[in-house]
Symmetry: C2
Subunit: 333 residues, 2 copies
Amino acid sequence: MKKLINEPSDVVDEMLDGMVAAHPDEVRRLPDSNVLVRNDAPVDGKVAVVSGGGSGHEPTHAGYLGPGMLDGAAAGEVFTSPTADEVNEMIQACDAGKGVLNVVKNYEGDVMNFETAAELAEMESDVEVAEVVVNDDVAVEDSLYTSGRRGVCGTIFVHKVAGAMADRGEDLDEVQRVAQKVIDNVATMGTALTSCVTPEKGEPTFDLGEEEIELGIGIHGEPGVERTEMMPADEITERLTERVLDDLNPESGAEVATIVNGMGGTPLMELYIVNRKLQSLLDERDLTTWDAWVGDYMTSLDMQGCSVTVLVLDDELKELLSHPADTPALKVR
Amino acid sequence: MKKLINEPSDVVDEMLDGMVAAHPDEVRRLPDSNVLVRNDAPVDGKVAVVSGGGSGHEPTHAGYLGPGMLDGAAAGEVFTSPTADEVNEMIQACDAGKGVLNVVKNYEGDVMNFETAAELAEMESDVEVAEVVVNDDVAVEDSLYTSGRRGVCGTIFVHKVAGAMADRGEDLDEVQRVAQKVIDNVATMGTALTSCVTPEKGEPTFDLGEEEIELGIGIHGEPGVERTEMMPADEITERLTERVLDDLNPESGAEVATIVNGMGGTPLMELYIVNRKLQSLLDERDLTTWDAWVGDYMTSLDMQGCSVTVLVLDDELKELLSHPADTPALKVR
């Protein structure tokens, strides 16, 4: 399998340097570390919002560094949690004395290392750390790397909302409260048309036939709920959307924000075709789309496929989603 | 080959509806047409900048509709020029009395249909139309669909600069002048790791072995300059960059803007790895990168690969690149 890489063991290191080379005014890399932070971190007068996880999900998470979103992003090796030491470094580099919110996707390694890091940072520098764990994937209750639901693309809404609240100068409790509000009101489900190929292995993580797809796939190629034959985009979109809406069970007339997220190898053309059907399904359920995002927000290397995310809104969440953000991967004016 | 589509013959129609559903406040579709325009078109007091071409290159071109960039984008079927009638419709829908600049990529069908459309618009409604033809691909002099060099990703810099000049209220001559200045100072070369697969055919457009790549590929899978064995990303980047810089021959100390563009199926991780090497090569040549873009700007369906674009800058071009833009695919604050 061909990839634009050099040594497989260097991909994360070289990618991080390439990100800094693309955005030198916006992000910097901590010395001898796979942590990127906002160039101006720590930012006086605000709570810091940080995240991280395995690499291979770009632009997640470092693409969301900047005013109105994240202060720090710790990158592990491909599909591997960042170490507790690196997360600790990140927390301390971002804290401006008002505390730090860890936004953690629900994978056992991430949860463990972020918790250890929070204890270290509290012990070493008296940093106040709060945490939220995102578990928006409605496909499976437990999986290969999780107990409880996995954290996937809904995490980007958490970054946006918590980052906005922090940017307003609110305190750590408030930033944590709105992050949790997003988590309580967001759901996602994905599908894979092809497996991803990790740089180290160089071969598909799992086998999927020429006419097969996997519904409910995780972002590391973990098994989903069902392997089924290929279907038209409209039918796939229906299957994903129904399950997401069954989980959320929004009231008729509710306003929502949506993401049609590409898994890394899917052209934008196909994502727009999925979005067309998603929006018509929401309309049929008497839901009003207040904002619709379409693109690659949380990928799985070169996997072909997509996920559908729905967030049920209230006035506070709409205000925070509208708050300006200026990051490499997401700009809101 | 699996794709998130319904009927292959419906992909363009459904994609355009999906784009409007994602950006209803920003773009609208002309009735019974594959033309999208800015929601507020025609915009009083400014020259209109329009473009278009075959579909399959998303976010090109409709992703660049909005303040500071394009007023109209005509979408043909996949890899097929839009009709002269649709381009004519677009020109007339966007003209606010100050004239229209057609930004055309150098493919025979596009050039012919945009020229016919300009004549029709002038005849029917007395619209003043000017044109620039983008031919930034340094790979081959003539190709399957062109006499002269092909127009590829450098076109996005033309959209940005011409759109900024128009947004400032300058006249048609001035907007055309700066568009041509970009064309005279930009060069691009691409590579394919895999072929694209068109929805109609459902099979690779060309065969490329498991250990082969094609250097100098076009955005429709047209042959490049050389089929060679797979190389590390650094070596590929060197080959592309050298050829681009040989063509431009910038003075030592010059400032440049760059694009590492994904072809649709390449993960962002790999594009950043290419960007890292590109920036170090520019540095070695004593060139200063003033701005570096990394992402999917002009794709070729699901093709894996990338292109490298370099634009040599002067103060005017820097000012125009910095001018605000607010489009689905590119936002400059």
